[in-house]
């Protein structure tokens, strides 16, 4: 379609520029703030050109944390966040891919009932079931452990549903051909279904990694020791309560650090991500 309407073009571009500015400006401010000294950050108005504290600020938060808020170093928190995000993403994918396989390819009594059970109960966000879940985790001595951070978040209705929908589009003849070729259910799953799900897995991994990384409420409850903080919790703890001042330059540096891994995952897996969402290799 070729159109030549200069006014429409102009208006469209203005809207786009405003949109980009609304998203990008806060990020820019965060970055600038993370390069300034404490005094510069609290000056009104804050200057909008980079300062000279970039290396100092980042080194300090990575190794020693803030001085006035929490004193925990951010590097171990990044590791914790990473372990948790990977654990949640991989765990969710493993559990849901297997349950979807069972629901689609096996006939057992109450199959649909179980599917809807999974679907309905897990549609509830963690916040709704957080008290009983905390009680269970605490009884199992999972507080302040990776297990406690990861396990309660692993079951996933969304991922199960997604894989179920994908399996339903795989032609039945493929399963039948495999049956005649002599492949049992496990062989079929491993040799045929799994390779076909590759792109779906990749797309889901990106979404779930970010979901795991951004968890706030659950890690806040389950972790008490500084050594188990995730970076999102770390940011919260750096903000001093009451009358004390918060070192916003260091907090912003931590925020920048917390932002990097999810962005990296998206950038690196972008090709796969898009492929998984738009096409299926059939």
């Amino acid at each position: 379609m070729v159109e030549n309407r200069p006014w429409a073009d102009f208006v469209a571009h203005v809207i786009l520029v405003i949109g980009v500015a609304v998203i990008a400006f806060p990020l820019y401010v965060t970055f600038i703030a993370s390069t300034l000294t404490y005094d510069q950050v609290v000056t009104v108005p804050m200057k909008l050109t980079p300062g000279d504290q970039l290396v100092d600020n980042y080194t300090q938060v990575l190794t020693a944390g803030s001085e006035k808020g929490s004193h925990a170093a951010v590097l171990p928190m990044l590791v914790n966040s990473f372990v948790m995000a990977i654990g949640v993403a991989v765990g969710k994918i493993m559990i849901s891919i297997i349950s979807a396989f069972a629901i689609v390819y096996f006939r057992f009594p109450l199959r649909n009932f179980f599917f809807w059970m999974i679907f309905v109960t897990l549609m509830l966000p963690i916040e709704v079931r957080i008290i009983p879940t905390f009680k269970v985790a605490s009884d199992l001595h999972l507080l302040d452990s990776y297990g406690g951070l990861i396990l309660p978040l692993i079951a996933s209705a969304t991922a199960t549903f997604l894989f179920r929908q994908f399996y339903l589009t795989v032609p039945d003849e493929l399963a039948e051909a495999a049956r005649i070729d002599g492949a049992g259910p496990i062989r079929f799953f491993w040799d045929v279904l799994l390779p076909l799900s590759k792109t779906n897995i990749a797309a889901l991994f990106v979404i779930l990694f970010i979901l795991g990384w951004n968890q706030y409420l659950w890690p806040l409850l389950i972790t008490n020791q500084e050594s188990m903080y995730t970076v999102v919790i770390g940011i919260k703890r750096m903000i001093a309560g009451g009358d004390a001042t918060s070192e916003w330059n260091l907090i912003m540096a931590t925020a920048m650090l917390a932002l990097l891994p999810p962005a990296l995952v998206v950038v690196l897996m972008q090709k796969w991500f898009v492929k998984g969402l738009v096409e299926t290799e059939k």
Partner: protein, 355 residues
């Protein structure tokens, strides 16, 4: 290589509702059997029961003398070619063809030999490293057949394998399947809804209608001597003409036309009789045999010959005439049916009247 025996095979999905009403047939070793019928007649279900993909409600299926009712598909020593080919999309042609052998833990050297031999027969040699995505419909079809051939099974089962191909390719693949069967001589069961495929490929065919095997026999016998209205109408192209009429003494009254009943049929003939005559058995002009006159209603010109449609009594009559002697619409034409080429059916039961 094996004989396949079906003994009163029945299938029902909901208790009491049969979709296959007891099919009995013996398929000889090395024979090419075509199961033909309209969609929904149960032909694919029957094939899938032989393959082991559907359970058998009652009756017995034996392959090579062994009853296989409760045997897994992989242990029945059969290979199947599916309508949509069902190739594994992520595997190369070589991997697709060798998958079944690898699962059976055949030595690598033997697998390679078998795949290469099959690839040579099917002219797939240059395509072995490609993925199915990069193949044309005809090539995919060939890979699907290659996957069956390398297994060297007791029987090949084809489930409408040519339906997804265009007309020209379908004819070509039909010839190739014929040639392949001549070379391999493996018992084959081929399901199709296309009577031309059935006529050209079959050693014998099973004509199915609504879950019943209406007739089993060599294609030419089924064509010459159909058992029922259904078989007569389904086999042969263009389809047989049917003229519904009433019995009037020793003749059948169709509109103003009196068609004499052959003497041997007179004793048992019912009230309502349908007379069948194939378009290719009608000759222009008067001559020996029954004469028809009708007004030309429509003409389909096919080139070599033309199909002329006209009304006789309550039935439409189609006649095949030379393509260069096409009559005008509305013209009155006279045809005569070749002697002995009239078929008489009981309208109520659809069965052929036999002495």
């Amino acid at each position: 290589m094996a004989e396949i025996v079906l003994k009163d095979v029945k299938k029902s999905y909901t208790t009491g509702v049969l979709v296959i009403h007891g099919v009995t047939a013996t398929i000889a070793d090395g024979e090419f059997i075509v199961i033909v019928g309209p969609s929904g007649c149960g032909k694919s279900t029957l094939l899938r029961m032989i393959a082991g993909l559907e359970t058998i409600t009652s009756g017995e299926i034996a392959i090579g003398g062994r009853v296989v009712n409760d045997v897994e598909p992989k242990d029945r020593n059969i290979a199947m070619v599916f309508q949509n080919y069902a190739l594994y999309p992520h595997m190369t042609v070589y991997e697709n063809m060798s998958y079944g052998l690898r699962i059976r833990r055949m030595p690598g050297e033997e697998i390679r030999k078998r795949v290469e031999r099959a690839a040579k027969i099917l002219e797939l040699g240059a395509l072995l490293e490609r993925k199915p995505r990069a193949l044309s419909g005809g090539q995919r079809q060939r890979v699907a057949m290659g996957r069956a051939i390398v297994r060297e099974p007791a029987a090949f089962l084809f489930d409408e394998p040519l339906s997804n191909l265009d007309a020209k390719l379908r004819v070509q693949m039909r010839l190739e399947i014929q040639k392949l069967h001549r070379e391999l001589r493996t018992t084959s069961i081929f399901v199709t809804h296309d009577q031309v495929e059935a006529m050209t490929l079959a050693d014998r065919m099973i004509v199915m209608n609504a879950g019943v095997a209406e007739q089993v026999g060599r294609p030419i016998d089924v064509y010459d001597d159909p058992n029922s209205l259904f078989v007569a109408g389904f086999i042969g192209s263009p389809a047989m003409n049917f003229l519904p009429g009433k019995r009037a003494g020793d003749a059948v009254q169709v509109g103003a036309l009196q068609i004499p009943l052959p003497a041997p049929l007179r004793a048992k003939a019912p009230e309502s009789i349908t007379v069948g005559i194939r378009p290719e058995h009608l000759e222009a002009g008067t001559g020996e045999g029954l004469a028809f006159t009708f007004k030309v209603d429509t003409v389909e010109a096919l080139g070599a010959d033309s199909l002329v449609h006209g009304l006789v009594g309550d039935g439409i009559l189609v006649a095949r005439v030379d393509g260069h002697a096409t009559p005008a619409i509305g013209e009155s034409l006279t045809f005569h049916a070749r002697p002995g080429k009239l078929y008489f059916f009981d309208t109520a039961t659809g069965k052929r009247l036999r002495p």
